[in-house]
């Protein structure tokens, strides 16, 4: 194998599994160390610069970082290995910070004369606004609703995301003075283009709940509601009650929000029914747990066949029982199990079987091309559509994802818009990330990070008592970690951003690092092709997707091969190294943003 090129930012970035997995590439270990040190405001600002909505995301993020967390690979196999509670630590920073208003960027003193329209005031558009406003852009923010926030306001129940938290973070952006045109729905892209904006960003989300066209849908329609519309109605206070017996159809996070909201609005027997298996549900595992904790059973392998009704009044749902089978091509299909149908009685049904994009307001001759699924053709790196002035981001770009994806899209789209407005190429002149690699050595055995490894297992976030939470649709269920729990949980972080950096000429091949490594990560052996080398490591390589760090040839002709997979970043290799061939160096990567990247 060739020696590893650690000058390529991707190499060490990949080692920081959480940051690599995060769409916005938030430097997770960096802010977790700040939380452990009690520097909540600093931790908050690290987050804010990267993901714009730390308080919101600390409660609602889909957490792509957590399945990636190394902690989930290194804990004792006999017990359940669990990642660091990254998401809930983020909330700790938001909950415990001081007033950070003076740390926020000020509105631009001088306008740059460029005008940008943002369609929809959800997380994607708000991110674009935040990235462009301090640079002097005139930003016009359109939304059909009366308040900014988008789906964060209308679809996420208040018991998961209190309004005060959302308001605070939306206001940090509104303080930068975009021009607000709220309550104003855009009905024509053509008209908008005629207003001669320098760029238009479409961040209107995936606003349409998918229908379930089975017999009885029309007749019993009064008691059958589309999940996201119903949640919005609850959010606005239009809907305050639901029947005692509720069936929620669908297995995503919207379904979980629907069933839990139902429990708070009078639903006594609330059942979730999914077509496929429990394990195949799209909802995050913790949201399923929370729903079941509130006494909501989840039934699986049941396909809705008919809404039952008498005299126009919904009485129940008939389900066909199915099982999963794998066909000859390895595809998984649901086939009838042959058992008799199941009838579940109910007063109301909430349909949460998916969301769709809808762009009835974009005329098909505006230069914005659509594909065969009626989705706009959008570049996944620049977020530019086929009309160079029109950009898409968030759910509007590639269908329903999560807030953190919308934020990431927003940052990239803002860069594109900024490049476009400067007359630069949006694809080839994009800025690189800001990367810093610096030694953490303070003394012979002292590092500027805590290198001792905690043996604690993941801490559970305390909840408010269920007797209280089920009575109030606005009462937040999760209480958040207290300071002591937050510290202990933060200590579980392995500091994967503090990299083991190997300086080949200094190595005397004494084996000290090999012997001390608690995870048997390091091997000195003859070089070879990767497949062969992986078989000759001190301990078996369990995850081929994790890189091997290979040195150039040493004095004996061998190479140092380190399997990055299970390294605890404890720094013992560097402590036991007599020559400083190993050093622990902090790799800090800030993903590109307009604020500092495009303007230098």
């Amino acid at each position: 194998m060739k020696p590893t090129d650690i000058a390529n930012p991707d190499y060490f970035h990949k080692v920081v599994d959480c940051q690599w997995a995060c769409p916005a590439h938030t430097p997770v270990p960096e802010y977790i160390r700040m939380i452990a040190a009690g520097r909540y405001s600093d931790a908050y600002m690290v987050n804010w610069h990267s993901n714009v909505f730390p308080g919101v995301l600390g409660r609602t993020c889909d957490r792509p970082c957590e399945p990636a967390c190394r902690r989930g690979r290194v804990e004792e196999v006999t017990k359940k290995a669990e990642p660091v509670a990254i998401c809930r630590l983020k909330r700790v920073a938001a909950d415990n910070k001081d007033d950070v208003k003076d740390r926020m960027p000020a509105p631009a003193a001088q306008k740059n004369g460029k005008r940008v329209a943002l369609i929809g005031a959800g997380p994607a558009s708000l991110t674009v606004a935040r990235d462009l406003l301090p640079l002097g852009y005139e930003v016009v923010l359109y939304d059909g609703d009366a308040n900014a926030g988008g789906m964060m306001r209308t679809q996420i129940p208040k018991f998961r995301l209190p309004e005060t938290v959302l308001d605070e973070e939306v206001n940090y952006i509104l303080d930068l003075k975009p021009e607000l045109r709220l309550g104003q729905k855009i009905t024509s892209m053509k008209d908008l283009l005629a207003e001669n904006y320098d760029a238009i960003f479409v961040g209107c989300g995936a606003p349409r709940g998918r229908e379930l066209e089975i017999p009885g849908r029309k007749e019993a329609g009064a008691n059958i509601h589309i999940g996201i519309d119903w949640l919005a109605s609850v959010s606005f206070g239009h809907t305050t009650r639901i029947g005692k017996r509720v069936i929620v159809l669908g297995g995503g996070n919207t379904a979980m929000d629907c069933c839990r909201t139902s429990r708070r609005l009078g639903g006594e027997q609330v059942n979730v029914v999914v077509r496929s298996g429990f394990g195949e549900m799209k909802a995050s595992p913790w949201e399923k747990e929370d729903a079941m904790h509130e006494g909501i059973p989840i039934h699986n392998f049941l396909v809705p066949a008919e809404f039952l009704h008498t005299n126009g009044k919904l009485t129940g749902v008939r389900f066909q029982k199915v099982k999963a089978e794998t066909d000859a091509k390895g595809r998984r299909n649901l086939v009838p199990s042959g058992e008799p149908d199941l009838v579940m009685e109910c007063d109301d049904v909430l349909v949460a079987v998916g969301q769709e994009n809808a762009f009835p307001w974009i005329e098909r001759d505006t230069g914005v091309e659509f594909d065969k699924w009626n989705m706009p053709k959008v570049s996944p790196t620049t977020f530019q559509s086929t009309n160079p002035r029109v950009f898409f981001g968030g759910d509007a770009a590639f269908g329903p994802k999560n807030i953190i994806w919308a934020v990431a899209h927003g940052h990239d789209a803002a860069i594109s818009i900024d490049l476009l407005c400067q007359g630069k190429d949006v694809a080839t002149q994009r800025p690189s990330p800001l990367v810093n690699l610096s030694s953490q050595k303070m003394g012979i055995h002292e590092w500027s990070y805590g290198n001792d490894i905690s043996n604690d297992h993941r801490f559970k976030v305390p909840h408010a008592p269920i007797e209280k939470t089920l009575k109030d649709v606005k009462l937040e269920v999760e209480l958040g970690f207290d300071i002591a729990q937050a510290f202990a949980e933060a200590e579980r972080c392995l500091n994967c951003d503090v990299q083991t950096v190997f300086d080949t000429p200094k190595c005397i091949e004494c084996d000290a690092c090999v012997d001390i490594c608690p995870m048997d990560c390091i091997t000195f052996t003859a070089n070879g092709v990767e497949g062969d080398l992986r078989h000759r490591l001190t301990a078996p390589a369990l995850h081929p997707d994790q890189d091997l760090y290979i040195s150039s040839a040493l004095k004996t002709g061998r190479v140092m091969a380190k399997d990055e997979d299970l390294c605890l970043h404890c720094g013992l290799c560097a402590e036991r190294c007599p020559t400083g061939a190993w050093d622990m160096q902090k790799f800090l990567l800030n993903a590109p943003k307009t604020e500092y990247a495009c303007r230098r």
Partner: protein, 351 residues
């Protein structure tokens, strides 16, 4: 040393031996020696050898004297018996322990100061009595604990870190062990685990006095140009006579060697030692030849390593003394007291 304990977390796919132990279960407390000390590498080679041989930790007694080397038994086999004795007196303590309980595996860990200076007399007598043990000297040529003065094994003409010149002749513990009757003699280098581990395994399987001298560079005081016990010097002058492989009983043969270059030897415990020759005419079963070879290579500045000598029909002290075939602590009053009739018979026979 380090300020933190070695983390308890371990590789989820770590190999397990027949006893269900991983190599981590054979570790001791964390080393307090200097970073990069050759001794630590030897400690881990011993750990690896015990793991590979499926040795029950409570069947091992590790003994040492004084010195950097003699601290190391604390850093391995945390669940074994241990005795940290007076400077240079480990061989007598080991001999006594062995006499009392022949059922344990005796591991003597010493250094060039402990065995070649203050303990030289103890060392040779322990070996010549044929005590069944593995005696390892961690040989760095200097007194590391007192800041790097030449020890008795420092080569004539080698330079100290402070610039001093060694005018005294060195003691070669390997030659001395051969001379006084060690039945297993090897030499290795702390920077070569591939050689060290099987050599220690073979020594542990040997039923007599097994001695291994391991050159172990002192990174603090003896790892500079002009030293003959530095990493670079040893790598350049290392003359391995053979390569070893210790195989479990009935284990499938994995590697094929060219005919005539390998030799398989059945060991006392049923396992097989496979020797692959590096020096073509070297015969590790010829004691006189081994002694001559050592001297001839030393004369041209080469350090002979590998399995230097083995007597596969070795007998130990207990066989020589015809002792009872049990640990003394297992003997009951019935075994020890012959009774009035027995006494009378014995007296009659010796009157």
């Amino acid at each position: 040393m380090t300020y933190i304990a070695k983390p308890k977390l371990r590789h989820p796919g770590i190999p397990v031996n027949k006893l269900g132990f991983t190599h981590r279960d054979y570790e001791g407390s964390i080393s307090t020696l200097c970073a990069g000390c050759g001794h630590d590498s030897i400690s881990f080679a011993i750990i690896q050898a015990c793991f590979e041989l499926n040795i029950e930790p409570h069947r091992v007694a590790k003994l040492s004297g004084i010195g950097c080397s003699s601290k190391t038994p604390d850093y391995l086999l945390g669940q074994s018996h241990g005795f940290n004795s007076v400077h240079g007196r480990m061989p007598s303590v080991l001999t006594g322990a062995n006499l009392a309980n022949k059922e344990l595996l005796y591991l003597g860990v010493s250094g060039d100061g402990d065995s070649a200076s203050i303990g030289l007399g103890q060392f040779v007598h322990c070996v010549r009595r044929g005590v069944n043990m593995v005696y390892i000297t961690e040989n760095n040529g200097v007194y590391g604990l007192t800041k790097g003065q030449f020890s008795a094994t420092a080569d004539k003409g080698s330079k100290s870190k402070a610039g001093g010149f060694n005018a005294d002749s060195p003691l070669d513990l390997v030659s001395m062990a051969l001379m006084v009757g060690a039945t297993f003699v090897g030499r290795s280098f702390s920077g070569d685990k591939a050689q060290m581990v099987p050599l220690i395994m073979a020594a542990m399987s040997h039923p007599g006095p097994a001695f291994i001298d391991i050159v172990s560079p002192c990174v603090a005081f003896n790892n500079h140009a002009g030293s003959t016990k530095a990493y670079d010097f040893v790598r350049e002058h290392n003359e391995a006579v053979n390569r070893l492989d210790v195989m479990e009983p009935r284990e499938a043969i994995k590697v094929e060697y060219a005919p005539g270059t390998t030799e398989e030897v059945a060991l006392h415990d049923g396992s097989t030692l496979r020797l692959s020759k590096v020096a073509a005419d070297y015969d590790p079963f010829d004691r006189i030849g081994a002694m001559n070879y050592l001297q001839s290579r030393a004369a041209v500045g080469e350090l002979v390593t590998g399995l230097i000598y083995m007597d596969n029909a070795a007998k130990d002290m207990h066989a020589n003394l015809n002792t009872v075939d049990a640990a003394l602590n297992r003997l009951s009053e019935k075994d020890l007291c012959p009774g009035a009739a027995g006494l009378a018979a014995y007296n009659a026979a010796h009157s």
